[in-house]
Symmetry: C2
Subunit: 224 residues, 2 copies
């Protein structure tokens, strides 16, 4: 039974990584499609969330079965609940990649706004945060999870800077209103992808250490 449980838990984690890989690839494609004015690539992102949605349901079902059949305790229990939460975050990342791709398609219908500013860089940071958060989950690596939390500040700073720059364009030149608005939305979607990576990192810290670092609550006693 115990060996069976560990194998099932292993499979659960593998599926989650598979889903993470798909989510990350979709974010990459959406930003590359924008940077390369590649409409077919963006269309592929918009229409292709079926595999992520199927994994979303499968992972939830596997986690439920593990909880129901094996009554896990302590770190195993926390790992399964973390998997349930990470699953939700990755599904949202997939949705946000669709949002980026759709805003990018609208953006490409207008003359471009001078340049994409730091949006490709935001995409790189968001992807790296996602990859690091999932690596931290697999390796149960607290330092890497903490690194993800730190990276979120740079993403927020870039978003605010991009907002200010685009607002200046919009106020100066009406022709830029529509495309600049799409870039603002894209930078917000990328920031939210970073937020989901942050959620995952917080779940990893809780899973490994039973410390709840959300809302700076790290003085609370350990649980379960």
């Amino acid at each position: 039974m115990e060996r069976h449980f560990q194998e099932e838990l292993q499979t659960l984690q593998e599926r989650l990584l598979e889903m993470g890989g798909l989510a990350e690839e979709r974010v990459r494609s959406a930003v590359a499609g924008l940077a390369g004015s590649d409409i077919p690539r963006l269309t592929t992102v918009s229409g292709g969330d079926e595999p992520i949605n199927e994994l979303h349901i499968e992972i939830d079902r596997r986690a439920f079965q593990l909880l129901a059949l094996h009554q896990p305790m302590a770190v195993d229990l926390r790992a399964i609940v973390a998997a349930l939460k990470i699953n939700t975050d990755l599904e949202r990342v997939g949705d946000l990649a669709v949002n980026v791709a759709e805003a990018a398609r609208r953006y490409l219908m207008h003359p471009p706004v001078k340049q994409l500013l730091d949006i490709p860089r935001m995409g790189d940071i968001a992807q790296a945060m996602l990859r690091d958060a999932l690596d931290a989950f697999v390796k149960r690596d607290l330092d890497l999870a903490q690194h993800v939390l730190d990276e979120d500040d740079s993403l927020d700073a870039l978003k605010s800077q991009i907002f200010r720059e685009l607002l200046a364009y919009m106020v100066r030149d009406q022709a830029t209103v529509e495309p600049a608005l799409d870039l603002i939305l894209i930078s917000r979607h990328l920031e939210r992808i970073g937020d989901h990576a942050t959620n995952i990192a917080e779940d990893v810290i809780f899973m490994v250490s039973a410390r709840d670092v959300r809302h700076h609550a790290d003085s609370l006693p350990p649980q379960a």
Copy 2:
């Protein structure tokens, strides 16, 4: 033991409702603060997410303890996992209320954009969805949960309509760019609050019927 478990589960649900009430009240205050140009009220929303954050941590801890100490099965297990997920959604609703309040404060620093369009109506719908989703959770009411899912379409339609109207203002009159942009962001925050209510309704349907209606997956077999 069983009686103790049911009492603890009851307390968990009460805390969740308390949190739902706080989240709903914050959404109401943020939209009312915008409609009434009430800066002090908006400031209260921006600065006041401590009680929700504390409940967020407490509810997670209670849910973990129930899972660890009682090894619940079937509907009880699904209720606890639903509570964990709903907890995450409500915490995000609290954050989104802050986002609405902050965008509203920026908005009120400019001459107003003619009118608030259907934004107060979006606020009403989002609040009603949240209230109905939590009612459905308490009463285990599938019809009410389904009603919440249906309402989400009207919220999306309002968001798209508001976006088109504001874009038209922005393109016509540069002075409206900044305030209109804030209204666009507010309508998106309200739409996301509706998305969280939808998530809660989906969790209720799964809890009650073991049917996963996300991604139209209702043909899958029941679980756990």
